[in-house]
Structure formats: C-alpha cells, structure tokens
C-alpha cells in the first residue's frame, strides 16, 4: 500500500472545508447528543418509587413481623399480606399486583435459634430485568439493616442469596450513562462519514476524483482524518456532559479512555465510509448508518439487556457489535478504574473491527461506480 501524503492532505483539507462551511450540521452534531443523552439518561435511569411486596408469612411470629416491619419502614417497599399458596405466586406478577414476594418459612424462629442458615425466599418479577436487579439490591440493603438491628442473636446474621435468572450482573442506574455515550458516539460518527462519498456520487464529483491518479486508500484516509478530529471533540463533549449531568463517577485513567474512545470512533467512521461506498444517495446512506448502529447497539451491546441472559444465538451475534467491546472498555475505565491490561481482550477485538472496516472501505471504494 503506497501512500502519497500530499494527496491525503489535499483530501483531508477539502473535507475540513465541507465541515466548516456546513454550520447547520455542526450545530445538530453538538445538540443532538445533548438531547439524546438527557432523554435516554432519564428514561433508563429507573428510579423505583414503589415496590409492592407480597408477604407469605408462615411463621407469624414476633421475629417475622419484625422482618416485615423493616420492609415497611423502607420508602420503596409496600408489603401486603398474601394468603394464597406459594404456587400461585406468578399470578400476582402477571396481574401486576406485586413486583416481588417474600416467603417466610414456618420454622423462621427455630432457624434463628439454631444460629445457622436462615432461609427466607424472595421471588422477584424479572420481566423487567433491570428493575428486578434494583429490587434485589434494595432487598439486600433492607436485610442488612434487619441483621444489624436483630437483637435476638448477634451471630445469626443471614444473608440474602436469591437467584435472579434474568440479570445476574449487579447494576446501578448510572451504569447506563456510559452505554448511552457509546451509542451516541457510534451513531453520530457513522452518520458523519456515511454521507461523504454518497454526496460525491449524488453531485457527480466522485467521477472527477476517480479519473485522477489518487488511490482509494488515500481517499479513505484523507476523508477519515478530519472527522477523527471532529469526533474526538464531540466525544469529550459528551463524556463531560454525562459526568456532569448524571454524576457518573470517573475512577480510571482519562488518557486511556480517550485513546480507546478514539479507536472506537475510528471504527465507526470507517463503517460510515464503507456504507458510503455502497449507498447511492445521502439519504440511503443515513438510513443505513442509523439502522446498522442504533438498534444493534441498543439491543445487542449489553447496554440495556445483559448479554449473559440472552439466547445463545443472540449472544453470538453480539460479537459483531463493536459497541459491545467499547461498553466493556468505558464501563471498565469509568466505573471500575480498570487499566489497559485488564481490558486487553475488548481492545484487541475492537481493533480488529477497525482494521476490517478500514480495509473493506478501501476495497469497496474501488468498485463504487462499477455496476
């Protein structure tokens, strides 16, 4: 692959002029993420106001009443006694009479005296996986509170080991903000470049470029460079916004995150260019860019639905969604403070995608006009 730096700079400069002269797009570019971030951020930020908790108290002892009262004392739980059988519990969930149920065994007191495992069963409606996780977290907190206040026997602390089938991750609500950032970044970056070649096709300028000695790799590199600069500005802007508005903690290394964000952006920009070589018009290009980024990222990257709880086939498909890797990276760095070494696998896989889209765009560039 031989490259002529002068020709690459020529293309890059020209793209930069296009960007600068198009104020409207620039404006939308910086406004759209603000709107999306705020809307999605609040939409996904499930503040649970009221959890109806059905209580099946087989023990009916002072201790079990004490446990129920602890739940009553919480602003989230509205416990109500349930007299039906445990087997009919799912009926309660289906009719939305309860979001969770607690079953206190008849030997609750005896168990406490034996000073070992005490089992109280919780059933949580996990049709909304995230809500279920939150409910589980709240239950944990209240059980901890009960344990502390339990004067009966200090050693008989019990811990909650409920099994949630649909959402094994322990999540908190702000977990979503990095995900939303990942989604906005890939969508906007892909959109940005998706129209660039399609526009040249619409206006016929592409022929003028293709009859010149410029190589397709020079066109692709020249076109991607100015958008990298633009997208990095955009990314810093969104990251800051997310941290300020939603109070997302930042535990890791800023430089590492920016470097990997740049890699992610380049992946998206190259995908956009690949789309652009295929689309005949700007409109088709934009449709393709949105279709290929928005839904897959929303549904299959682990942003909302945990990958581990997806059907096997969907789990395999998620490997094709670049946001999946970036999500691990951004959550890792922002929330856990992970370093590059711990994130090696997603980084390498994301890198492969970048390379793949880059080479594919160059190859398709050669055949853009052939029919």
């Amino acid at each position: 692959m031989q490259l002529n730096g002068h020709r690459i700079r020529t293309v890059a400069r020209k793209e930069w002029y296009h960007i600068l002269y198009d104020f409207r797009t620039l404006f939308i570019l910086f406004l759209m993420p603000v709107v999306q971030l705020i809307m999605l951020g609040y939409a996904l930020n499930l503040e649970i106001k009221r959890v109806d908790l059905a209580v099946l108290d087989y023990a009916r002892s002072p201790e079990s009443t004490h446990l129920v009262n602890t739940f009553k004392g919480s602003p989230f739980f509205h416990p109500f006694p349930y007299d039906g059988s445990a087997a009919n519990m799912d009926h309660l969930f289906k009719t939305h009479q309860a979001h969770a149920a607690m079953i206190v065994p008849s030997d609750f007191d005896r168990q406490q005296q034996r000073e070992n495992d005490i089992s109280v069963q919780f059933l949580i409606d996990a049709s909304d996986a995230n809500r279920a996780t939150l409910i589980q977290n709240y239950c944990n907190r209240i059980i901890a509170e009960y344990n502390q206040n339990n004067t009966m026997s200090l050693s008989s602390l019990f811990d909650l080991r409920s099994t949630i089938y649909f959402n094994p991750d322990q999540k908190s609500a702000y977990f979503f903000v990095p995900g939303i950032i990942a989604m906005i970044l890939i969508m906007i970056s892909t959109l940005l470049t998706s129209i660039t070649i399609a526009r040249e096709k619409e206006f016929g300028t592409i022929e003028q470029i293709l009859v010149s000695p410029i190589q397709s790799q020079e066109i692709i590199i020249g076109k991607v460079l100015p958008y990298i600069a633009l997208a990095i500005m955009e990314a810093s802007f969104i990251l800051l916004l997310g941290m300020i508005i939603f109070d997302v903690p930042f535990r890791g290394n800023v430089i590492l995150l920016m470097m990997l964000t740049t890699l992610y952006i380049i992946t998206a920009l190259c995908l956009g260019l690949l789309i652009s070589t295929q689309a005949k018009t700007q409109q088709i290009a934009m449709m393709m860019a949105i279709t290929l980024t928005l839904l897959p990222t929303l549904m299959l990257s682990g942003l909302i639905f945990p990958i581990a709880s997806m059907p096997r086939i969907l789990q395999w498909i998620t490997y094709l969604v670049p946001a999946r890797y970036y999500l691990l990276i951004i959550r890792g760095i922002m929330l856990k403070g992970s370093g590059g070494g711990q994130l090696l696998e997603p980084i390498l896989l994301l890198g492969w995608f970048t390379l793949f889209f880059f080479i594919a765009a160059i190859r398709r560039m050669n055949t853009t006009l052939e029919r």
Partner: protein, 246 residues
Amino acid sequence: MKSPDIIVKTENLTRQFGRFTAVNQVSIRINRGEIFGFLGANGAGKTTLIRMLCGLLKPSSGEATVAGLDIKRESEKIKQKIGYMSQHFSLYNDLTVKENIEFYAGIYGLNRKQIFQKQNEISKQLQMEPYLDSRTSDLPLGLKQRLALATALLHNPPILFLDEPTSGVDPRARRSFWELIYQKAAQGTTIFVTTHFIDESEYCHRLSIMDNGRMIAIDTPESMKKRYKKKSMQEVFGFLIREKGI
C-alpha cells in the same frame, strides 16, 4: 501496427447494462491534436463510451487504447494522461474557487507553489480575480463551466474528454467555451467532446454520429455535408437518423 499519431483507438467497443446495449461495437481512431466530436441524442451512449475510455466503466467486450495504453489493463497509467469533465457540474459548490483549484490540483500531485501559480493563471485567463474567494455556487453558469474546464486541465493532460460541456449554457457562454477549446487544441491537446447541439458539431475537426449505441457515421463535417448533399449539419443529422438509425 499502432500508428504513433493515433492517440485514441477503439475496436468494437461494447457495453451492456443487463440485456440493454448502451454502446454497440464502436470502432474509432482519433489523431493527436484533433478536436473529435461525438454527436447524439440523449441516451445515444455518449457518456457510457467516454466513461469506458476514462477507466470509470469496464467494457463488456471490445478493445480500446488511450495514449497507447490499454483501458482494461493500464487504466492507472491512463489517469495521468487524461483530463475529464463529466456531464454533471463537477466542482464543489460550497467551496470557494481557490479551494476547488487547490483540491483538484492537489489530487494530481501539484505542490503548493504550482497550485498558487495555477490559481493566478486561471484567474487571469478567465478574468475571475473578483471571484477567487467567492463560493463556486455564486458564479454565473458560463463561468462555472469554464472554471470546470480549467480544473480538468490543471495537470496539462495530452488528451481531454469533455462530456456535454456546454449543456445548459447560453449561446454566448458556449462560444467563449469553444474559444478555450480551440486554444487548448492549438497547443496540441487532443480533444474528445460530446454534444447534443448539432450546431456545435461544425466546430469539430472530425465528427462521429451516434444513435442507440451504434456509430452511424464518422467524417469531417464538410465531407458529411458533401456526401449526403445537405447544406447544414442539421439536415445531415436528420437524414442519417432517418436512414441509418434504429
């Protein structure tokens, strides 16, 4: 076999789109320094032929060489030798005149100094100093076309392909455009120009008439008029389409 004076040569050049034949077995020879015209109604196949010669489209069958280079195997080398002005307006409307020149000169590898020289040269030749920093969209159409021609010539190609360069331009602007073409031809540039204006065919040294992908006549305008005993190219064209057209 290859005469050094023949700079474009096609042999039964054919292009099909599906089952439709846009260019049907066209064989031509164009001499160095000629202004060669291609006359034909819309859809005759002029653009398809030019795009094949410029390496933008692969022929379905047949052979062609441009500047002695094979269009199938040596299209990369051909690119240095040709200038092309497509039938669409080929400048960027949102960029200024200077920026357009800078871009097209840059992709042909001209350096900063050469680009600067070209900008001056063009602005003098086309008398467009006041426009250099205006957006290209603000230029009068005739001037735009001449600027597009100038950008196609930035790298001094020995062969120039012009696809309906004067469509949509008023008669006066068309005349000044043809003056530029003559200037270039006088400097030895071979010019291959398509048109659907019959009067423009008189400006060409030699002319080929196309209809439905086939070439139905090739000669100088004078010989054509003499041979078919017509007073104007208008009548020759009408006669040929009736007699030989499909």
